[in-house]
Symmetry: C2
């Protein structure tokens, strides 16, 4: 009978880890067995039992403080039990004896949880003011290597929907969380458990998006949210399914809270079923697996030769090369018929995918071409030589030179390149193509014809913490925050839509033009949030109407070659809903390098980040 949920392709499912919330069982071992019997993976429960009356303040030694540690093995405490603190603890009470008693009890329970080695401690937040709680938790996290804290709060506060509360009385639980984690300096061992609201109190999509930018560890689902479907089986309303689907990207866990004491396997099975029903990975999901929010240094293809691994990954992106081939075809068709053998030059061909695309176009159009491949990397040339010998023959002229110094015997009708980085110009495509256009005919074309970078403000303490924890021993913290990173962004909130920043067009015959740039952009924050960085994308016009884009607005479908780029702020900035975020970006250059600087001007001013390219630059030298 439980099989009604067992549909869908077993290979395409998200494993869903479920926990059972059992506030205060008579016996933890039996409670754990009960949860296991119905398919749950772990239990959230109090580790002290209220039947042990304790007066921790007045008497050091009044009796047992909780369950004995020997009822479970360490490996069980360490994997299967999330410890809930006694809910009545309130260290932020203004009543002296409540505050003092609470503090003593909190320290004792934290100590006991640490003694047991549980993987996480769960604390319910019930109000906005948690300053004393935050202080004690921050102290404990810093003085231990392993302790994790899960803060549990409602996804939305009921006051938001109350007609009795004035605008100033309406609580936003995100503020509770934000205050707490700011006090604890965005500590990565602080996680969130969000209570799903009932159907009448669903938060707005942008509020949900903001939660998706937080370190959510679990969703807490009260079984009162379930409704019966036409088969009489409990299911969640569509709106809850949509929320769960969004959080699946964060690999959250699911905690079931129920009053039932009978068979509760149907809730667990249903969550598992959602893992199949709602999981719709895109084509590149398998390729990206494990790279979520992982920091990569942007490539420096001029100063460091790309290696065979990078070439191989790029060459797998069929969408990109098909689009390029279409662009080459359109461009070749536009070369006047009186030019008998148009000259095409692939500059920076790597191991040759665009050389192959050019040969394909010549073949398709039955039009002979003269084709140059101009590559500076001797190890890529080694491969190209092999392909000339065994595949292409004398159809390709291979040149092992930097395109900025090479003097070809011919001038080109079409120069083809793929020199774009995650931010468009950040791998020095402008400088390289300016150097190469010496051998482009005055009416010749460049593929790409132009490219534009885009930025948007984001909130992601995940990335903030990744930068901190990946700091190499020989770099300062500031250096690491003045450096952009290429990231497959998952755990973030986009505060506003991207806007266009810098554009470069080729060829560019204006001898007075420069590749330096400066621009101010303004963004709107619709709700309170934390600005931690700017994310960068780009799009490019290859030829005519043919474009490639990494901008989410019109991202080229299934293209896998580029992740977004992140420009961090050295210090997160608290933003009020309704504020304007104004940011300035520079692209600067000197004789030997190019770099970016950035600076927030509003709602608060920051110092200029990466002045003089002191922390990050792209070298022009081969």
């Amino acid at each position: 009978m439980g099989d009604i949920y067992e549909s869908g392709d077993q290979d395409k499912r998200k494993p869903m880890s479920t926990g059972l919330y059992i506030s205060c069982p008579h016996d933890i071992k039996s409670a754990l067995q009960y949860a296991f019997n119905f398919g749950y993976h772990f239990v959230i429960t109090q580790i002290t039992h209220p039947s042990y009356a304790r007066d921790v303040l007045r008497n050091k030694f009044t009796g047992p403080i909780g369950r004995t540690d020997r009822i479970l093995k360490c490996s069980e405490w360490g994997r299967l039990i999330v410890a809930e603190l006694t809910p009545s603890i309130n260290v932020d009470s203004e009543i002296d004896h409540v505050h003092l008693q609470s503090k003593a009890q909190l320290l004792q329970e934290l100590g006991f949880a640490y003694h047991l080695g549980v993987p996480a401690i769960q604390i319910h937040l019930k109000q906005r003011n948690n300053l004393n709680l935050a202080r004690i938790i921050y102290q404990k996290i810093l003085s231990s290597y392993t302790l994790s804290i899960w803060l549990t709060i409602p996804m939305v506060h009921l006051s938001r929907y109350s007609t009795l509360c004035g605008p100033d009385e309406k609580e936003d639980t995100w503020d509770w969380w934000n205050d707490f984690r700011i006090h604890c300096r965005y500590e990565k061992r602080l996680g969130l458990v969000l209570e799903l609201p009932d159907v009448k109190h669903i938060p707005s999509p942008c509020e949900i998006d903001r939660w998706l930018g937080e370190p959510v560890k679990a969703l807490l689902i009260n079984t009162s949210l379930f409704i019966l479907n036409t088969h009489g089986k409990p299911v969640l309303p569509k709106i809850h399914q949509e929320i769960i689907q969004k959080f699946m990207a964060l690999d959250v866990q699911y905690i079931i809270k129920t009053n039932s004491t009978g068979d509760i396997s149907m809730y667990n099975k249903y969550i598992s079923f959602l893992g199949r029903k709602l999981y719709t990975p895109n084509e590149n999901e398998a390729v990206y697996k494990g790279m979520e929010d992982f920091l990569q240094n942007p490539l420096q293809p001029l100063s460091e030769h790309l290696d065979t691994n990078i070439y191989e990954v790029f060459e797998k992106d069929q969408i990109k090369y098909t689009t390029y081939q279409n662009a080459i075809q359109k461009a070749l068709q536009a070369v006047p018929e009186d030019i008998e053998t148009p000259v095409l030059m692939v500059v920076g061909p790597g191991r040759g995918p665009l050389v192959q695309a050019s040969l394909n176009v010549s073949y398709i159009l039955h039009r002979p071409i003269k084709l140059y491949a101009i590559e500076k990397n001797p190890f890529a040339v080694n491969t190209l030589l092999d392909r000339v010998e065994n595949e292409w023959g004398n159809k390709v002229t291979l040149i092992n030179e930097d395109m900025r110094v090479y003097n070809p015997p011919d001038k080109a009708d079409i120069i083809i390149s793929e020199l774009l980085g995650s931010f468009g110009d950040n791998e020095l495509s402008p400088e390289c193509l300016d150097g190469a256009q010496r051998f482009l005919k005055k009416n010749g074309v460049s593929i790409p014809a132009s490219y534009t970078s885009y930025i948007a403000p984001i909130q992601s303490t995940k990335i903030f913490n990744e930068i901190l924890s990946n700091r190499p021993a020989d770099k300062s913290v500031l250096t690491c925050f003045e450096t952009p990173y290429v990231v497959h962004l998952v755990n973030f909130y986009k505060i506003d839509e991207p806007k266009a920043l810098f554009t470069f067009s080729h060829p560019n015959w204006n001898q007075y033009s420069s590749n330096e740039r400066f621009k101010r952009l303004s963004f709107s924050a619709t709700q309170d949030c934390l600005l931690t960085a700017f994310v960068g994308f780009f799009d490019t016009v290859l030829y005519g109407e043919i474009i490639l884009s990494t901008n989410p607005k019109n991202h080229t479908e299934n293209m896998a070659s580029w992740f977004p780029i992140i420009f961090p702020l050295p210090e997160p900035m608290q933003i009020k809903g309704g504020s304007t975020i104004q940011v300035a970006f520079w692209r600067a250059e000197s004789a030997d390098k190019v770099w970016y600087e950035w600076c927030v001007e509003s709602p608060m001013k920051t110092n200029i980040v990466n002045p003089n390219g002191r922390s990050y630059f792209i070298t022009k030298i081969c």
Copy 2:
């Protein structure tokens, strides 16, 4: 027929990874297939082929530099091929054009190997002077994240056995290696491949021990070393088996070098067979798995409560508690018969194993006792309370107090404790027991009665590098080198045998005695080596003749509770064979802490390490 090697327990085997050395195959893909067909796991081979004549100095672009990268997938280059450099490269030649040509070729081959993404590059050292080679390799390692270098040298140099060479002409290949890695600051991505010598030129046991302290990645075995056994099958002589057995602890790989071009599966099968035949793990091997050379901070049981995980691990050490129980039994038998109910106090009982041992003794001897358990950790007391309630009843009086302040109603005939750390006194057993002896009768005894620490000089660049790479962001490098670590030592060389350092006896009724200590010790280095640290052990007399020891000389068999402790030197010291190593150690104390300082006086002087306990101390405060 190959089955003659297939004996032994399949569960008790060391997996043996074997590679095949194929200097310069016509075709790498076929060579790889050949190796796979005969069961080998990887291939060592040149990535450039001599048939590609190259003059890298004079002409930038003369033709292909090596095999094309596309013959293998990146994942194959990255896992299956170790790249050998062209053997004729000699950047340390004094002939100008050889030096220049070699340097250009070396840079090209290193670049190509990096391009291919091979896991390691193998270089044969042929002489002691490799300064220019070391410089280039060090530069390349520092400028890449992944490059690993395997330096191949003979385990022993033939000149050692030549009657034609005078003493000054005899080469020690360890010096070749030691010079090289000193130039590269003990870089952890530098590994060693050692060529096994023939039976006539086996190095001495202490030379082999010194190699065992090095980062040996593989043993290179020429099939000419094999002899035929009585079944006509190739096997290695006993002396080679003994060497291989020793290196198995380092998880080295085995590279077969052969002139055969036929079926060579028997060598690979034989190595696999040795993985079963020679693997003799001790009882605790499974427990220790994965902890090899892993740094742990020494416990601070006074300032930080031990957690349930630590208690559970310790309680599993049956040998220790059986020995303790024997000691308690002997001590109780020695208490005069006229004392009707001897008073036993277990101070720091944790979760109660020594309480249980005391009850066992009382039962065995049919002698009633009065038993106190005095424990400061409230979470351990919580467990003890449960045991009192459910196991022991009123046979045990439980006190939740620090033994240094508790005032009992009785005085004890026997005080029993297990407060010893890896260095004996380093968890402040002397201070705790001095505090507790207030409630010991004047003729009462302490179990343990005494304990002594031992130290020995060692060489281990593995530990040196572990300390460097485990540095927390908020600590200086010096702080990390002024701190002792508890380590399951594997990859190290013991330069001389341990000698006794500090002894403490209990009870100690001499009111003028102090727990501060100072001692100088001298050790002999029989051969050239690198002093990187001192290792510490301890032994303890529990009662009479009953002892426990972690000193390798008389280590209590199968006892698992303690690993050695390491006192690092901030800078490794080069030691000549025949030198005396003189070291001074202090145990110092102030009102609130205890610490060690140490200093080498000979053969060279160092600054005093950890002055005033600035980097490491043990706090006395609960």
